[in-house]
């Protein structure tokens, strides 16, 4: 071995104290520098973006807020008000159409005396979702509290207008108070199983609440359903049913049993290969030819089945991706311990595969939720289906942006909520197992 070169030997004489980082590398300036002006290209993009925002945001804000009209009975009246208050020819948003048709956009033609039933179904849906999505019922406190706050606000408005306590005295209020109390006292982790029983029963309860026909509830025919009520029915059913069916199909596609595998493959490839519109047309028209004459087969039910099957096929491929991404060793380790197929799927494989697939799963959910608007094509009156009759009304003839903007905004809220939840879930699960 060669001798060490001279001047190599070194011994530290003291340990340095910790010092604060240079001021330009922390805080707001550092953030600006890193995120907005990190390179010439980034700086140029920042300047361009800010300019564009400065050009267009004020106009949009004026249109949507300062120059908007909330109370009017027709587009003509809207324009008259704008001319009078903001100056001749100034145009803002005529939100009055939303104000006037709000109930219709929410419930479709659901009888107004019975609208407490979808309301309760919606509150129940929130309650049923929480134990599935979270470990405790804490979020129910916020939801029920928020709902009651909205109720209180409407009551104040109603009192001010001299209409009395009407809005507060509704079944929904009592229901939310009850939920709040229950969630407060029995919302802990240890009670989650009991709440999950409610989640399992929810589809049945919701069916009877919405359609009635039993327990003294008046029957409401499917033709009266519409608006966001219909969107929620199709979206929630599709989401809740497509995940388990998709998982089953994904497992089937990877099965050793040829028969199960081929059925899964054929199903997935067929359904994925056909546009949803086609399936919906099959549901609305073609199916009648195959069913015995005189069979009563509800249109909404048919649509639900088609939408669910369609989403399941996509879901199956998303989950299959997650299953394929797991190292083979996970399957082998589970096998070597003597776990049965279903045990190893449930305890080892699916928890990991689904975790990997969360972005894809939520992506499919969001896609499905927005695809529910396609039912307008076969004549169901979902919010988009309602825009045509509303725009055809002579009072609102000529209105476009406000209606579609509002519907788009509501859809955005739902999809954004799902996206936020998916990110919350990813963060939570990542905190658990760091690789």
């Amino acid at each position: 071995m060669a001798a060490a070169p001279p001047h190599v030997a070194y011994v530290a004489e003291r340990f340095y104290d910790d010092e604060a980082p240079p001021p330009s590398t922390v805080g707001f300036t550092a953030w600006l520098r890193e995120n907005l002006f990190s390179s010439p290209l980034n700086s140029a993009l920042t300047v361009i973006s800010v300019t564009l925002l400065a050009l267009y945001l004020p106009g949009l804000f004026q249109w949507a807020v300062t120059h908007s009209v909330w109370n009017a009975s027709s587009l003509r009246e809207c324009r008259a008000i704008m001319d009078a208050s903001f100056g001749e020819g100034v145009r803002g948003a005529c939100w009055a159409v939303i104000n006037e048709r709000f109930m219709q956009l929410i419930y479709g033609f659901y009888p107004s005396a019975l609208r407490w039933r979808p309301n309760i179904a919606f509150v129940l849906l929130l309650i049923a979702m929480i134990p599935v999505l979270f470990e405790t019922m804490r979020s129910l406190l916020w939801i029920a509290g928020g709902g009651l706050a909205i109720k209180a606000a409407t009551t104040v408005v109603s009192l001010a207008q001299g209409d009395g306590f009407g809005p507060l005295q509704s079944p929904t209020t009592y229901f939310m108070v009850g939920a709040l109390v229950l969630a407060y006292f029995f919302g802990g982790r240890e009670h989650r199983r009991k709440w999950l029983i409610l989640s399992a029963l929810f589809p049945v309860i919701a069916y009877f609440l919405l359609w009635g026909g039993a327990f003294g509830l008046d029957r409401v025919p499917s033709s009266r359903f519409g608006g966001f009520l219909l969107t929620m029915i199709i979206g929630v059913t599709g989401i809740a049913a497509s995940l388990p069916i998709g998982i089953a199909l994904a497992l089937g596609r990877r099965s050793d049993m040829v028969f199960i595998r081929s059925i899964s493959v054929m199903f997935i490839e067929f359904i994925r290969g056909v546009p949803l519109i086609t399936l919906l047309f099959v549901a609305s028209t073609l199916l009648n030819y195959f069913l015995p004459p005189g069979t009563e087969f509800d249109l909404i039910l048919r649509v639900l089945i088609m939408v669910t099957l369609f989403a399941s096929a996509y879901m199956a491929e998303v989950v299959r991706g997650g299953l394929a991404a797991l190292p083979k060793g996970q399957y082998e380790a589970a096998d070597a311990m003597g776990l049965t197929y279903w045990q190893s799927m449930r305890l080892i494989i699916l928890p990991q595969a689904l975790k990997i697939s969360i972005p894809g799963i939520v992506n499919t959910f969001i896609g499905l939720f927005k695809d529910t608007t396609l039912v307008a094509v076969i004549g169901l009156l979902d919010p988009l289906g309602l825009t045509n009759p509303i725009r055809a009304d002579s009072n609102w003839n000529g209105i476009v942006w406000e209606l579609y903007g509002f519907i788009g905004f509501v859809f955005f809220l739902f999809c954004w909520g799902m996206s936020q939840y998916s990110m919350f879930l990813e963060r939570k699960l990542r905190a658990g197992d760091r690789r």
């Binding site: 082998e332 305890l347 197992d433």
Partner: protein, 264 residues
């Protein structure tokens, strides 16, 4: 090149004993991957308490052989019976064998979404139907034996390779297996972690565990094994007591392999 061999701690050989009771009996085992003949006419009887080291060049079929014993690989001809249960395509028999045979993998294969403790208690709870508390006590006891009880509530990703492999050993032991299979347990480890895993395996040997190890750790083979098997091209080429095997190999291929691996 002696530094390539990790010397595990000395073994109290008086504690090592072999009974005359059969544990595994493999007769005329043949396996093909498609057209490729991986295992050829393997005959092997393993008695309780034996520590067998299987070595050989890569692709010689040594991993495949031990993976056949717990039916991770299917065999096409011949018979394997473990503790009197003969492996057939009947899944019940397969599960019956797997319950009594523990396996440790090259890449540990711990379940990353479960804590160390949950990794260990999973099989006892779901396969042995052991009450949770009892399973946890057993797991803690075994984690103590592999010297990492303090890691019980961490996740596998937070542990070093050597610690993960010791957890994998504890996890297999939680099923109270009668036989342990080791598939290159130290091949994925850094040198300084190999020793801690080998030392853990020695504890097992001293407790009388029947062990089959596919490994290239010749120091371990010398110290612990009562039999060394050399495989090449899908067959058992030579087997002997470690002393004889290392100092007096008879087959030319064994000589070549040993000269390569020991560097003489």
């Amino acid at each position: 090149m002696d530094d390539a061999i990790v010397e595990p701690r000395p073994v109290d050989r008086t504690k090592l004993s072999v009974s005359d009771e059969l544990s595994i009996e493999i007769a005329n085992l043949n396996k093909w991957y498609g057209e490729f003949h991986v295992l050829k006419n393997i005959d092997l009887s393993v008695y309780k308490g034996e520590r067998i080291v299987i070595c050989g060049p890569s692709g010689s079929g040594k991993s495949t052989l031990i993976r056949c014993i717990n039916a991770l690989e299917e065999h096409q001809k011949g018979s394997i019976s473990v503790n009197g249960v003969t492996l057939t395509s009947d899944l019940k028999k397969v599960d019956e064998v797997r319950r009594e045979v523990g396996m440790v993998f090259q890449h540990f294969n711990l379940f990353p979404h479960l804590t160390i403790l949950e990794n260990c208690t999973l099989a006892p709870i779901w396969v042995r139907k052991m009450p949770k508390q009892e399973a946890e006590e057993l797991a803690m006891q075994l984690l103590t034996r592999v010297k990492i009880p303090e890691q019980a509530h961490k996740y596998p990703g937070q542990l070093s390779g050597g610690q993960q492999q010791r957890v994998a050993i504890a996890r297999a032991l939680c099923m109270r297996p009668k036989v342990m299979l080791f598939d290159e347990p130290t091949s994925a480890l850094d040198p300084e972690m190999i020793k801690e895993v080998l030392d853990t395996m020695i504890i097992l040997a001293e407790e009388g565990m029947t062990m089959l190890c596919v490994t290239h750790e010749m120091g371990f083979a010398r110290q612990v094994a009562n039999r060394v098997i050399f495989m090449d091209r899908g067959q058992i080429v030579e087997q002997n007591e470690p002393e004889e095997f290392f100092h007096n190999p008879r087959n030319d291929r064994t000589k070549l392999f040993l000269s390569q691996i020991l560097g003489h």
